[in-house]
Amino acid sequence: MGIALAGVACSGKIVGTLETDPTAPPGTPHGPSSGGTGGGGGSGAGSGPVSNTAAGMGGLSSMNGGTGPTAGSGPSAAGDPAADVNRVPIHRLNNAEYDNTVSDLLGVSSKAGTAFIDDEKLFGFDNIAAAFGMSDARYEEYFNAADALVEEAFADDGTRKKLLVCTPKSDSDLDCAEKVLDAFMQRALRRPATDAELTRASKLVSDAVELGEDISGGIKQALKAILSSAPFLYRVELDPDPSSATPHALTAYELGSRLSYLVWSTMPDDELFEHARDGSLTSDDVLVAELERLLADDRAERFIASFGGQWLGFRALESHQVDKGEYPDWNDTLRAGMVAEGLSYFSEFVRGDRGLSEFFTADVNFVNAPLAKLYGVSAPSGDAMLKVTNTSDQRRGFLGLASFLTLTSFSKRTAPTLRGVWVLENLLCEHIEPPPASVPELDTGGDGEDASVNVRDRLAEHRKNPSCAGCHETLDPIGLGLENFDAIGKYRTTYAGGDAVDATGMLPSGEGFEGLLELSSLLAADDRLADCAQNKLLTYALSRELVASDTAYLRSIKAAWTADGLGLAALLEHVVTSETFRQRRGEP
């Protein structure tokens, strides 16, 4: 049922995301995230070769019913590369994870990490272990923050008392200090400290006391050191034999960290630690129950914002430019409403009970006051987002979200090609090559191009050039079907210049449609969305690039997930219980 893209006469180059092209992160080649105009020559037009990711992935797009490995079994389906649980490098916390973790550890409220050197993103996410290095400047940020955060925690009676699990009787009460450190290190290292580690930390206390600190100063000294140390700053998973390729199960503590950083972007809480301590977390039942518990908790909003916000572009909208002259309604409150709506919409599919099959068609929106005005519905009374259905303007599903429609537009006008490319790349996981250098630009989208332009006519002109037509016949239809929505997602039937909007189109498969509702119905039947969702989620969950040897796991997860009705909570469950999430190996 997919929109057949394979064989588009563009470059002939088939790029398989999984096998050969680890760079293919989401985001258009010359993206729309910052209004402006077409980036590279012709990028405004987005003309470029298309390759069918699915082809490169060995047919992952149509693997319903495929058989793959189940936990504990190695063999892969015929034709798939051998399954490999692979490994995740030592994994430095990203800035958000750092802030969340020190907040949980110390009870402090300040967010040092927000002003740290920015995190690197790779494959569309900011939690990819391989992308993270260390530099002198970054380490000094951690070192200085450790000092400030421990002082902050000890300046407050409440937080200090929580850290001091016993009260030192004197400056020589090292037994008590050691109890404090033992309790702290279990949480900071996300596993019990070894005797050697505890001894090393305790010595910091006595050394500090010798230098003239009191016992409290000595304990602070040790906490600062622990927060400056590698086992805190990095999530470390150890291999019994670092040079062996034989898979082994993660420890229950390591698994607990994978789970809590996946769902909460922070360290495990007491209950999760308890299940790690008694080892029960490694059982299917407890693991699934813990996932459900974490998902039900408010902190799961971090998963919505981090995974959903990055995958679906809501985070990128934060730095998107809209021309206020062209769109006087645009302001930061409207932008915030769009972001909040996008996250709420995604949450319906994770924390609500909607299946992914409704992703393009769900009749639900969330509005604040300016967004309600944009949509033509009644505004909520307060600041909270209001859930609404049946908006009057033929708006429905993900493609009707103002956040998507805005992000994929230029600052002054819509860009159908960008909308199409964004959907193909991010929702259907097609890899689209940037336009060849020889292709002329459609237009600039800048000063000379405003909202009055009949973009369909401009694109039609562009397609008269044979070197453009091949690609644009594939790239444009989705966006042309959305022309009833302007560059901030407001419904329209005419362009500002007076031309009537024509929102008809034909997909490469030959299926014709008119407007968002018909287009969305066609896309709802495209099973590449589910494949794409699980690729994205597994990448995020494992914090690493997917490679050919993950194909078998994807296939097996997809089979089980399909049987469960294709809800994202179910997908999370199948990812978390998969062999590749629960095991790792060394590096021969």
Binding site: T23, I90, F116, K121, E140, E587
Partner: protein, 466 residues
Amino acid sequence: MKRGNRRAFLRGAGVALTLPFLETLAPRRARAQTASIQRYVMLYFPNGTADFWRPSAEGSGDEWKLSPILEPLEPVKSYLSILTNVSNYAPFGGHVEPSHSNLGAATWTCVKANGDGKANSGISVDQVIAKRIGDATLLPSIQVGLSTEDSYTDGLPGQHSRSMSWKSESQPLYKTVNPQAVFDRLVGDAPAGNAEDQAAAERRRALKQSVLDYVLEDATALQKKLSASDRARLDQFLTSARSLEKRVADAGMQLPSGACPTPTRPSETYGVGDTDDDYDRNHHAELMIDLVAMAIQCDVTRVVSFMLDDARSDFAYDFLTERKFTDTGSTEGTGKCGGYHGLQHAGDRNNGFATIGWWNAQKASQLAQKLLAMDEGDAGNVLENSLIMFASGMKGGNHDARELPIALIGGGGKLDSGTILKMNRHLAFPDETRLADVHLTILQKVFGCPETSFGVSEGILPELLT
């Protein structure tokens, strides 16, 4: 000497950052034996420039005039050289249009990002120079910038968009945009006040030392349990912790001396995606220029990498009032500038695009003027003994990597007796002169680096020399 400088600067009487600095410290050691140019600043702007950059006439002295965009550099014109017709197509295999995101790094490495999803580039110019002269200062180099937005990466690894300093082909040195963090790095945590009890300071230093001893011992123990590639990752951590340890130990052993002024610690803590509602990019820029000037005056470092914005930035420069440009100059206009990248593609003569270029030149001029105002005794002023390379990796709206906007600002330098670079001129090279050769010439002839090649270089450029 260097340590004395730094400590001295910690102790002054709380002079506000924006006030002029006092005179710099005594002449530095070893100057007589080496090239007199001792400092290198790479000052980058993305997206190229509007048409009003290229000076109309070639030549030197009075023969050439500043272009409309370069007009803010008038106060330092005698220290300025404009290089035109320089190209950086070679790393990309000929006239293949490089994407924006290649160019943050490639402008300073002259190596194509290979796009395999990993950090992969080449060593950058500043880091080659830091290898040569970095040991003379507390910090071998610093990396700063102004982008408070998530940089757009055209699908490439983001390092190439947001990091132009590369310590090796696999280690980008990310810049710091947070003024307070830059200050803390330059100053350490010594208080600005001068009443500090010496014993207390010594104790704090010992406590820090003890923390770092723990950190290093702990990481070394962990190292033994890791696989080969993870050991390499942890090596970066160990290297950074050791650098800090060395610094803590060094600083504590020095007595304050000299006349390095004490600025106030900035209260601004900007981060990417984390700015106040009243965030003002011009204020951010001026804070950072002050910090860079301070780093140089106090001799904390002699190598600076400064990104005025990230590759393909579409940051809205709406703090800027558009100027009206003609071929002979510009005057204040009306209306605000918009998104940088959008304006880049709105025509090469559009006023918004030109105005952002003009503002960039103004920032370059402000930094240069601060160095000009610093006296170095017999050696003249600090600007004379510095080289600022102010450049973009893209020509303008067409994405060309040829006819790049490049300005050198500083002294001509004196290697033993002779001048190295001729300043106060517009030097038009033959078409397609390689940027890598410009870098190589500077590395070899100005900084005395032993490198015989750089990126895709073919050889040194005699025209650049006198």
